[in-house]
């Protein structure tokens, strides 16, 4: 299909995507606060314009044809671009730089990172998000950059080099090896290890699970997210947990360095491939690598 785009194309594309998302003409009409006949007519006009059938009406509602499925990505792009046209251009005001960091990022490192961003952006909004949430938000354009745990899937994203922060093991204060400053991971095999929930980053989770499994360490059934939860779980006395924050201490919790730092916290600064942060990317990485 070539030729000049039609004036009502954006509306028809909006109808089309509503039916895609709802899977049903009636519900799509409801969502658009309109009746069904003009919606159906709009879809039919779009089908004539494109020269192909977009939906098959079946017992379970409207199902996309392969021709229709092929249109979906371009349709979403068009609708997003149309919405962007209506967004007012911000005047005389630098936009807020939207940043997310993982809960495992040590507080002092996070502060250094934000300072680095502030040197180039007057306004910074920081969220603490697990890797899976950050990669989804980056993909949706809701974030400008995020510190994520490596390895993770980064479709449509780019990322800086891998940053390694050493990690110690937090063990219960009553642990027989609690006073020993440095140990091979294997010697801690008797105590189950609590990790962050697997859904936060299956690849990074499985990597650690595979590595500790080789050394005979079992995983604890309950997960912990971030240093605070890790400290409290270990203080509870039944599990051990990893931390990259050298200042993290608490009563009833001992720190043990792991020989050879076998389980460092691996991080990357990620951003949308179509909106690279330029020199700021390097500055963020450098800020996190500073001891």
């Amino acid at each position: 299909m070539t030729g000049r785009p039609r004036l009502d194309l954006v509306r028809q594309i909006e109808y089309f995507l509503a039916v895609v998302d709802e899977g049903h003409f009636g519900r799509a009409a409801q969502r658009l606060s309109m009746s069904q006949p003009p919606l159906s007519q709009g879809i039919q006009r779009l089908e004539r314009l494109l020269g192909g059938v977009l939906f098959v009406r079946g017992p379970r509602g409207a199902e996309l044809t392969s021709f229709g499925a092929g249109l979906v990505p371009r349709a979403r792009q068009l609708l997003a671009a149309a919405k962007a046209v209506l967004q007012p251009e911000p005047r005389n005001r630098q936009p807020v730089f939207r940043l997310a960091v993982v809960p495992q990022l040590p507080r002092s490192t996070a502060a250094a990172l934000v300072e680095a961003v502030r040197s180039q952006h007057q306004h910074v909004a920081v969220k603490v998000l697990p890797t899976s949430d950050s990669t989804a938000s980056l993909g949706d354009g809701e974030l400008d950059a995020a510190v994520v745990i490596h390895p993770a899937l980064l479709p449509q994203l780019d990322a800086g080099p891998v940053i390694r922060l050493p990690r110690d093991m937090l063990v219960p204060g009553g642990h027989p090896l609690a006073g020993v400053p440095s140990l091979p991971l294997r010697s801690l095999a008797g105590t189950p290890l609590a990790l962050e929930p697997r859904r936060h980053g299956p690849a990074a989770f499985d990597l650690v699970a595979d590595l500790v499994g080789i050394e005979g360490v079992r995983l604890a059934p309950a997960a912990v997210t971030g240093d605070q939860e890790a400290l409290l779980a270990v203080a509870g006395g039944d599990v051990m947990a990893l931390t990259a924050d050298p200042s993290l201490h608490g009563r009833g919790v001992a720190r043990v360095a792991l020989e050879g730092d076998p389980l460092p916290l691996r991080l990357r600064v990620a951003w949308p491939a179509n909106r690279p942060p330029g020199a700021l990317a390097d500055a963020m990485t450098a800020a996190m690598e500073r001891p």
């Binding site: 895609v20 899977g23 379970r60 509602g61 199902e63 996309l64 392969s66 499925a69 092929g70 899976s132 490596h150 390895p151 993770a152 899937l153 980064l154 479709p155 990322a159 080099p161 891998v162 390694r164 299956p202 690849a203 990074a204 499985d206 990597l207 691996r266």
Partner: protein
């Protein structure tokens, strides 16, 4: 199951395995019922390029341009590196053109593939692709060039070091072999189009079609599509491709009731590890999800 629901389940399966996934499954029947997930996005093929090369070779045999039984001698150097077949042999090897094809498909022999590619030519492969309606597929180079590129890009001095560099967790390598604009590339949909053409006898003569089906069912390699179809009674003929974090499998599955499905699943894992059996397995699991959805609707 609605198309959207299948897509969501496929995405969830790939996410859980820590891999990005591209999939196309089509029933080999007049209905041509299909399931697609990013099926029109080009992906670098790695060794899956050997399948279009096989089809181009078969068509030259059919046209009388190659005598498949004619013997050729492959000297030890230059010979493309690899982990199987002629690639790991030390001395001159003499075998027929069709046995080179046997090597290329059954053990993904890089050296045999490059000898065949030299004979067939990239241009002929492209003509074959376009004739069969594969417009999104480009075969731009063979294994030797891919490996040479990999060595340059990783700064490695040996082939082994180059492949080792791809598994480095702390230095993320992005060789051109991952790049659909530079490597040989295709879409999941194009690969099932090719398989469907081959299986229905439109790509080559009955004799050469039968030869190809036997080769593809005698393949040795990791369990990928097979992981989703775990029974002797289900026949599988397929070709895998592997390069660093790319793990692919394209093939045809035939059930005891004779219904058959062409399927192409491409993956790219988040982890750079050489061995990721969970990602191998999700290739089959995703294909099975798609096939089950088609069988439930059919």
């Amino acid at each position: 199951m609605t198309t959207d629901r299948v897509s969501r389940r496929l995405r969830a399966a790939f996410d859980d395995a820590g891999a990005q996934g591209w999939l196309h499954v089509r029933e080999l029947s007049p209905s041509g019922a299909e399931v697609a997930l990013d099926a029109d996005t080009p992906v670098a093929l790695s060794s899956v390029y050997k399948l279009p090369l096989l089809v181009a070779f078969l068509r030259m045999v059919d046209a009388g341009e190659i005598d498949p039984t004619r013997r050729v001698t492959v000297p030890p150097a230059p010979r493309t590196a690899g982990s199987t077949g002629l690639s790991i042999m030390r001395d001159p090897v003499t075998m027929s053109w069709r046995d080179l094809a046997v090597q290329m498909i059954t053990v993904s022999d890089n050296a045999a593939a490059d000898v065949l590619l030299h004979k067939v030519g990239l241009e002929r492969v492209t003509t074959t692709l376009r004739t069969l309606g594969l417009d999104a597929t480009t075969v731009t180079r063979g294994s030797a060039e891919e490996i040479a590129g990999l060595m340059t890009e990783t700064g490695a001095h040996s082939v082994a070091d180059a492949f080792e560099a791809l598994t480095d967790l702390d230095h993320v390598a992005l060789p051109s072999g991952y790049d659909p604009l530079r490597a040989s590339a295709s879409t999941a949909r194009d690969m099932t189009t090719l398989l469907a053409a081959l299986w229905t006898g439109q790509a080559a003569s009955a004799e050469q079609t039968a030869f190809a089906k036997v080769l593809l069912s005698q393949r040795n390699g990791p369990y990928r599509l097979r992981a989703g179809f775990p029974h002797d009674a289900i026949q599988l003929a397929d070709k895998t491709g592997t390069l660093g974090s790319l793990r692919h499998d394209v093939g045809v599955v035939e059930f005891p009731d004779r219904t058959a499905y062409a399927m192409a699943v491409f993956t790219r894992s988040a982890r750079p590890d050489r061995l990721l059996p969970g990602v191998d397995a999700v290739i089959g699991q995703a294909a099975r999800l798609a096939v089950d959805a088609l069988r439930a609707n059919g």
